[in-house]
Amino acid sequence: MGGARTELTLGPNLFNWAPETWRDFYFRIADEAPLAVVYLGETICSKRAPLFRDHYAAVTERLHGAGKTVVHSTLGETASRVDRRLVSDVCGMTDDLVEANDSSATFHLRGRPHCIGPLMNVYNEETLRVLASKGAQNICLPIELPFTSIGVLCAAARTENVTIEVQVFGRQSLALSARCYHARAHGRTKDTCLFVCENDPDGLVLSTLEQKPFLVANGVQTLSFEYLNLAQEIPALKAAGVSRYRLSPHSCDMVQVATIFRGVLDGVLPPDEALASLQEMPLDAPFSNGFHHGQPGYGWMAQAGAVSH
């Protein structure tokens, strides 16, 4: 599958953007971004889902109209009745595929074709085979898997007729909790949050006592401060058999990010030029690729290290 067609995808928006911002972002993505697949839906907090519900059908229609495949993503952490209802409702959408982000969703989706999201634990071939036998067609791997594991899972996926997806851009999801850290930062609780997460379109940066930016809070989710950037690693990922390359949405120009990554995937933009273009973008943090190289996740290995797989 090394020479097979590669698809660029846009993961679900992780942040609480104003409903009109959310709608306009996806309208522009539909019209201008060279993406094959767009994952939609609330994966972090069930309280946010109603906020953009009014625009959901219009966005889905616009994406379909632009020839993009739409996949509906489910909640990462499912505990309360509201969480459970949201997961059940999304899994009931049958016009498009659904991406499961916890086993509450696989409970509903088993027996019919679906996708597995990066918040599910798929660390070995046996798990991949079980999920494939329940109907998984595409699996986006957990963020912390090193390249060596990605290669092993790609080989297993080929025999199961499953495609493998890997995140290549955007803050990395590091943990999920029941407690909302946005609410806590403002002296509130999850039930009394007043949606304070809406003030941070790329999350709330947490710095150490040495004022070193370290982590990013996004509701119940903790993300990396750095933006994952695997532009340099794409040739190796293609050779390993990765089919789908996921960009995680941020408030920066995602059409530009998509255009750059599409250029690398097509072999028309050298990875070092892609990296230089991405470095010129006004992002609020540096890049990382440590997990991919079996190093601490915040780390960055320059190209010389990156090509020595």
């Binding site: 660390y123 957990p142 590091l174 029941a178 150490t208 006592l209 370290f214 997990f291």
Partner: protein, 214 residues
Amino acid sequence: MQAGASSPEAIRFYCEEFEVRRVVLPRILTVAEIADIHRQIPCEIEAFVFGNIGMMAEGRCSLTNYATGVSTNMDGVCSPAAAVRYDEEADGALTTRLGSFVIDRYGCGESGGYPTICKGRYSCAAQPEPYYAFEEPRSLNLSALLPDLMRAGVTALKIEGRQRSRAYVKSVVAAFRRAVDDIMAGRQASLTDLIALTEGHKETQGAFQSKSWR
């Protein structure tokens, strides 16, 4: 691999697909929610009652790997001792580090906790003064909730023993055994001795008591 099953549907998925007989619930649920889950699943429940409060859902935390390159999911460690450093500052304060990141700092005479990322002190735009962004360095101690947990349908109690001494494990397990026997026999249970064994001598009931913890 920890499955991170926190809803009746997730647990039923594992029961039906893998004939799971008992689930250890993540430490993110209230006692009322545990009772509710118990009514909707066909298997036994085991609950954490004592040890690390573990702010993140089990099996869904890569914070240690992010800072150290050693993974909780792949290597089985949280905050490995090899990556921990205690540095004494000129003013006598103690700075704790994991990898290259400062996790917390304690003044002279303050008792410090073992540096784990989710018990560290950080600052942010909303809290310019350093605060415990995730949780304070406290241990989970549900001894006061034991009768409620037993009524909620919990069959087994889980006590953290990993990275702990034999003496610690012996006293904690013995205390809980006595307490369970006392409750079953209708006697008042006493677990006050356990507080001395909790992290930094501070304890919490975490998520279990009420939703306001969230």
